[in-house]
Structure formats: C-alpha cells, structure tokens
Amino acid sequence: MTRLREAWYIGLWDSLPLLRDPMILILLSLISFLPVFFLFIFLGAEQALPALVGAVVLSLAFVGMGVAQSVYFNKHWFRFQDVLVASPVSPLSYAFGLALSTLIAASPALALSFVILLLSKPVGLLAFLAVIAVSLLMWLAMVFIGYVIGLTTKNTRRANSIPQVLSFLLGFLPPVYYPLSMLPGFLQPVAMLVPSTHAAQLAKYYFGMIPLSSAEILIGWAYMVGFVALMAALTLRKARWVDP
C-alpha cells in the first residue's frame, strides 16, 4: 500500500505540470485522431470508423512512449531521481509512478476517445474490456520502450526526437488507421512484426469490423504479451537506480 501511495504521488508530481498546460492536453487528444479526421473528410464515416479504433489504441501507445521524456528529464534535468534515490522511496514506485503519470495526463483524451468510439459503434462489455486490455498491453510495451530510451539517452533533443520517430514508425506507418489488406502482399508479413498492427487488428475484431480466425486471435495476443515481456526484460537490463 505504501508503495502504491508513493507511485501515485510520483505520478502526480510528473503529470500535474502537463494537466496544467491545456495545449499539451489538446495535443495529446488530437495527435492520434488527426488521421481519423482526414479519413472522415476524404473517404467518409465508414472508412473512418476502423481508423477511430486504431486511434484509441494509439492514444495509449503514444502516451506510453512519453515516459521516455519523464525518465530523461527527471534524471538529467530536474535531478528528481537523485532526490528520490537518497530517500526511502522504492525504485519500483518511481518507475510505476512515471508510467502512471502518462495515464493521468492522457486520461481526458482517453475518456473522450472511448466516448466517441462507443457512441459511433456500440459493443458488448466483454468486447469493450478486450479492447481496453489490448490498448493497455500496447501502452505497457510502449512504456518499456520509453524507459529504455529515457535510460540510455543523455541528450535532450534525442529524448524528444526518438519517441516521436518511433511513434511515427509504430503508429502512423503500420496498418492501424487503414486495413492490413491495403498493404502490398510482401509488406503484410513485415507489418505483422509491428506490435501496433496486432493491437489494431484485435481491437477492430472485437469491435466487429474485421473477421479473424481463432489462430489469428491467439497469435495476436501471444505476440503482444511476448513483445511486452521482451521490452520488460530489456528495460530491467538497462534500468539503474544507482549510477554505475
């Protein structure tokens, strides 16, 4: 309980500045929805709806990746990590708190996106929970990637640019906003290496927008869980509470 409390207040410490900056909140809300807007304008509501599912999944992925900046800035800029190292605060509370802060900061955008999605395409509770679970796995994977970036970067520009490039590679390029079938045949297996493709496919399936076989569903979940585990292992390898 003590550790959860520590994590909660560390999350508040990290997210309050964002919550007080309306422009950042608007940016967090809009960035993943921008492609949906253009698809809606140019192709109509039918094509925009699957993209909206992708946008919801990516909203969490984008904020998860934001942990890279929290890790970097709290270590090298604010030196807040040093303050906490020399205190009884647990490193796990700190790590969990920074991850939590991304969810706190994104909560207005997430609430809005889920409301829009459910109003556009109502689904059952189980399907809704499955989409939440897929989104959280995607978020967790991105949080771990964010940690690795934040822990290994000693340069402010890179701490900002690498997550943005990765967001582009993992978010806008793969078939998240558009159907997998629109990619040329040789690119489809490549797209299946990207975890956000699996997340978007599963979410679209649970919203009844695309059919998937049992094997494809199983592979999708297994890939997501495996990817999260791999990123977690990488983070644990890189993570240092005390500097070497």
Partner: protein, 293 residues
C-alpha cells in the same frame, strides 16, 4: 561515533575517467563538513557516492556505520540531498513541490501540509507559495529546492552547491538554516565554490584536486598550511591606491613598527586577515603551476 567514514575510496567511471583516488576522511555527528575543489575535481562524485547515488569502485565508505552499497537502504532512511544543478518543475508551485515530496516520503496529508508551511515560512517562501516556479526568480527557485531537502528532518544532509544563484540575503538564510541544523545535531556535508561560505560554515573542510584529497582540516589549518598570514595595507589617506603598500608582517614587533611609522607619517593602516580563498589558491596552486608547465 563518526557519521561518515571514508577509507581509500576510489571511483573510476565506466568510460575510464578516474574521478576519485584513495580518498580517506571522517565526519563527526553535528559537523558541517565542506568539500572544496575546482570544477571537475571530484567533489560531486564523492558526495554522490556517500549519498548512495553512485557506485564506488575502490575502497570503503560507510554512513551511520552502514556500507554505502550493501547498507544503502538503511542509509536512505536517514539522509536527504540537494543535487547540483537541480531544477524545479516550472508548472508546479513552491507549495506543490514541497507538499508532494512530503507525501511521496510517506507523510499524512495533514502532516505534509503542516511541514510544508513550516519550511516555506522558514525560507520566506510562504508569500510565494501559490506562484508557479516559472514565475519565481532564480534565487527563489533555489530556495524551493532547499526546502525539499529539508522536509524530512534528515540526520545527514548532502548539499551540492546549495547557494548557487542566491542573492546575499538568500545565502545568509541558507547559512542560518545550516547552522540551526548543525545545532540540532544534524550533520551537513556540502560542496561549494564560495570560499566565504566555507569559511562561515565549515567546522572542517577537505580540498579535493584531481580526485585526490590534498587538504583536510579546519579553515585555520588551511590558512596555516598555505602560510597565509595577516596583511597590513599602508596607504595615504584618501589615496587612489597607487601608493598602496602591502606588507606581510611575521611578528607582533614588526606590526608595531609598521603602525608607529604610519602614525608618524600620517598614513592609513588597514589590517586584512588572511582569507580562505588565498589559502585555497596556495594549496591547489601547485597543480595549477604543474598544468602550466
């Protein structure tokens, strides 16, 4: 019992930079111990090793009898640190900073609010408590960080350049706070570039040069070691300094002779006590000369 014991401590960074070499000293309870040295001398490295933030690579260091690596968890219950070049969050207020850290460190909401008010008042920040740090001057921001270091009533406080960016009044407030802490039995280990600060605060000081301890003792010891004595400045009253004569008398008789001459010739005599800055330059001066050669 000594609060800090350091024996043959060494630190070589993974890139190969040898930041500390065979450093040994002790710090007693309630002592204000200053680490002096040029930029990159190894002061912050030493402080970070003792504050359990950095792994040593040689020798032994204990804090409260606990070894800094194996006993880090126990040490962290009793220390607090103000890191060098720390910055507050611009979109948080002074009150947010201190209160949130109180809550993170496990205080109840009521205790956190009470303690926050106490330390903010102590550093004249209460009237600014709701302003965002973006709207505070550099000196006030530094005070916010200091308040954060003091909330937990630590038994050992590490201050890395605590008065950097503060105006003279702000610096004196920090000095007063450090003295009050020392009177309460808190041990303070601080690094500084300001020699007057070390002179005002330090019970003992260590001078580090290129990772090695080149001096350990009191301020007076430092002056004595450097051979820096009292200076007499003799000049014409209202003079522009061109006819200034700086003397280094070696005995009381010599001082008397200078004063008698000044009275006879109607000159002004100023006594200038030796400063730590001169002693510091004398002590590290050898290595400055070595570099020049």
């Amino acid at each position: 019992m000594d609060v800090v014991e350091v024996e043959g401590l060494g630190k070589t960074y993974p890139g190969g930079t040898e930041a500390l070499k065979d450093v040994s000293f002790r710090v007693a309870k309630g002592e204000v111990f200053c680490l002096l040295g040029r930029n990159g001398a190894g002061k912050t490295t030493l402080l970070r090793v003792l504050a359990t933030q950095l792994m040593p690579t040689a020798g032994r260091a204990t804090v409260f009898g606990q070894e800094v690596v194996r006993g880090a968890k126990a040490i962290r219950q009793r220390i607090a640190v103000l890191p060098q070049e720390a910055r507050p969050q611009m979109m948080l207020s002074a009150f947010d900073h201190v209160r949130l850290l109180c809550l993170i460190r496990g205080m109840s909401r009521a205790d956190a609010a009470r303690r926050t008010e106490q330390v903010l008042r102590q550093f004249d920040l209460w009237e600014h408590k709701d302003k965002l740090c973006a709207d505070l001057s550099g000196g006030l921001r530094q005070r916010v960080l200091l308040c954060m270091a003091l909330i937990a009533d630590p038994e050992l406080l590490f201050l890395d350049e605590p008065t950097i960016g503060l105006d003279p009044l702000g610096r004196r407030q920090v000095w007063a706070a450090v003295r009050r802490l020392a009177e309460k039995g808190v041990t303070v280990l601080l690094t500084t570039h300001y020699m007057d600060e070390a002179e005002k605060l330090a019970n003992r000081l260590a001078i580090i040069e290129k990772g090695r301890l080149t001096f350990l003792g009191t301020v007076d010891d430092a002056k004595a070691k450097a051979g820096v004595g009292m200076r007499l400045i003799v000049e014409a009253p209202g003079g522009n300094g061109n006819s200034r004569e700086v003397l280094h008398p070696s005995s009381n008789e010599e001082i008397l002779r200078v004063v008698e001459r000044a009275i006879r010739e109607g000159l002004k005599v100023t006594f200038q006590p030796p400063s730590l800055e001169e002693a510091f330059i004398h002590i590290v001066g050898g290595s400055i000369d070595d570099e020049a050669a």
